[in-house]
């Protein structure tokens, strides 16, 4: 669906909303290789290119490995670069993801979260982006279509910040967010231009008067230094992200933070969860609160860098926590979010008890009753002080 004109209010799928965000940013280069469920983004965006409503050079490539390679080449040439992918597509980009981050190229991609094969599955879970969590990319996650749309602009700003210069992945749930239509507020093109600004790439490959080399070999003498620089940039990204989110909220009236703490102030039990399933969990929290139960939700908007301090502050005082991962680390000790979050709480004086629950793999529904069951278990643990099963699958 090609949207050529839009008003401030719109009802759009996540894919179309993200495609419109990309159109408003008007990137220089867009290497494109479609894959379900992110195809809609590439499809809509190619419509914008065909209609002449963007100045972007769309490169149709033969694989996602090539798509990321083209992103890297174009970004090293000084272009502002975007693309979209999912699942196996992101997996095929793997090798190049590390090159993009190691070369400090602020490429922004949308990852529409989808399960990894095998078995082949096209539906939502987070195993694709969670698998890429150590690739040196910033990762933002969205609960709603509105947030997915807004995150595109924020990701661009954080990635291109001179203190950061790292690629960013904007994640939303496959089908649940990418294909469901929600009402949202769009920014005007002027507002977007004012917020993201112009991008001036450094050391452009196309500047033949000042020739440079990108991607040279670096051995024992300096490799670790470049990785250290990259790691420090990732650390700085947290403060930059907080600033960008604050500025976005002040400018456009939609406040965002690194985390979204929902009714946690006096909570005894909390579920930590990411993306769309947080919405379902919040509904359950409201219901249980009406029954006098002190429950809350913590949702991470930023996963890379990992906001460990903010998480610890938000969960200080909570007695029991269940971390719900929509991906399994296959380490026989819970999901990736569980492990990092549990570590973030380690230094608290009175740290909560924390357990891991893996849910919703391959698009399995996570329903109100599932969240209710987890909260009941948590409240029971709060009484007995004893966790029976530290890690387990739910929604089976």
């Amino acid at each position: 669906m090609a949207v050529t004109a839009h008003t401030k209010k719109a009802a759009l799928t996540g894919n179309t909303a993200v495609a419109i965000a990309m159109k408003q940013i008007n990137p220089d280069v867009y290497p494109a290789y479609p894959i379900t469920p992110s195809t809609g983004i590439v499809e809509d965006f190619s419509g914008f290119v065909a209609d002449g409503s963007v100045d972007t050079e769309l490169i149709t490539v033969e694989s996602e490995h090539s798509a990321m390679s083209a992103c890297i080449g174009a970004s090293a040439a000084g272009a502002r670069v975007m693309t979209a992918t999912s699942s196996q597509g992101l997996a095929l980009m793997w090798e190049m993801l590390y090159i993009a981050s190691g070369m400090r190229l602020p490429i922004v991609i949308a990852d529409v979260n989808r399960a990894l094969s095998a078995p082949i599955n096209i539906h939502c879970d987070h195993s694709d982006s969670m698998g890429a969590r150590d690739a040196g990319w910033l990762q933002l996650y969205a609960e709603t279509v509105q947030e997915a749309y807004d995150n595109v602009f924020m990701a661009m700003r954080i990635a291109e910040n001179a203190k950061v210069m790292l690629p960013a992945m904007v994640c939303m749930d496959g089908f649940i967010t990418s294909h469901a239509i929600e009402n949202l507020d769009l920014l005007s093109d002027e507002e977007v231009r004012g917020f993201v600004g112009e991008y001036k790439g450094r050391n452009s490959l196309l500047d033949t008067d000042n020739p440079v080399t990108w991607g040279a070999m670096v051995l024992q003498d300096h490799y670790i230094t470049f990785k250290h620089q990259q790691s420090e940039a990732m650390t700085r990204a947290k403060g930059v992200a907080a600033g960008v989110m604050k500025e976005f909220g002040e400018k456009f009236g939609r406040p965002y933070g690194l985390i979204d703490a929902y009714r946690l102030e006096d909570a005894e039990a909390a579920i930590v969860i990411m993306n769309s399933a947080a919405g379902t969990t919040k509904v359950v929290v409201d219901d249980l609160r009406k029954q006098g139960k002190k429950v809350g939700v913590l949702r991470l908007r930023l996963f890379r860098p990992f906001p460990f301090k903010e998480i610890a502050d938000a969960l200080r005082g909570v007695k029991v926590v269940a971390v719900l991962d929509r991906a399994d680390s296959m380490n026989s000790f819970g999901g990736p979010l569980f492990n990092e979050l549990r570590s973030a709480l380690y230094d608290l004086d009175n740290r909560p008890k924390v357990m891991s629950r893996i849910y919703g793999l391959g698009g399995r529904d996570y329903k109100v009753k599932d969240a209710v069951e987890v909260f009941e278990e948590l409240l029971n643990i709060s009484k007995t002080g004893k966790i029976d099963t530290m890690t387990k699958y739910i929604t089976l």
Binding site: G102, M103, R104, L105, P211, V212, T213, W214, A216, F226
Partner: protein
């Protein structure tokens, strides 16, 4: 450490031609040796060498830049059959 922090972001080499100053010929196993008596200065080796390690002066092939030659042997193969002025010798010999 302060010194290290000045290294260019992302490992970019910020000017051209820096390979001149970095010896990369160290892992060569075979060394090209030219018989200048046979050489006809056709420049095929100069064109084909992937490391620009064939040295040409005043339009004449004069030898190899062994700081950068990797010993791949392409020059020896490409030197015309009627001439065959380049031999690859074991570095160890």
């Amino acid at each position: 450490m302060a010194e290290h922090k000045k290294l260019p972001e992302g490992g970019v080499i910020e000017k051209g031609g820096t390979a001149h100053g970095y010896s990369t010929g160290g892992w060569r196993k075979l060394r090209p040796v030219v018989d200048l008596g046979k050489c006809t200065n056709c420049m095929i080796c100069w064109v084909m060498c992937p490391d620009s390690a064939v040295i040409v002066q005043d339009g004449k092939m004069v030898g190899f830049d062994l700081e950068h030659c990797k010993g791949c042997g392409i020059c020896a193969v490409e030197c015309p059959d009627k001439v065959k002025a380049i031999k690859m010798n074991e570095e160890a010999d």
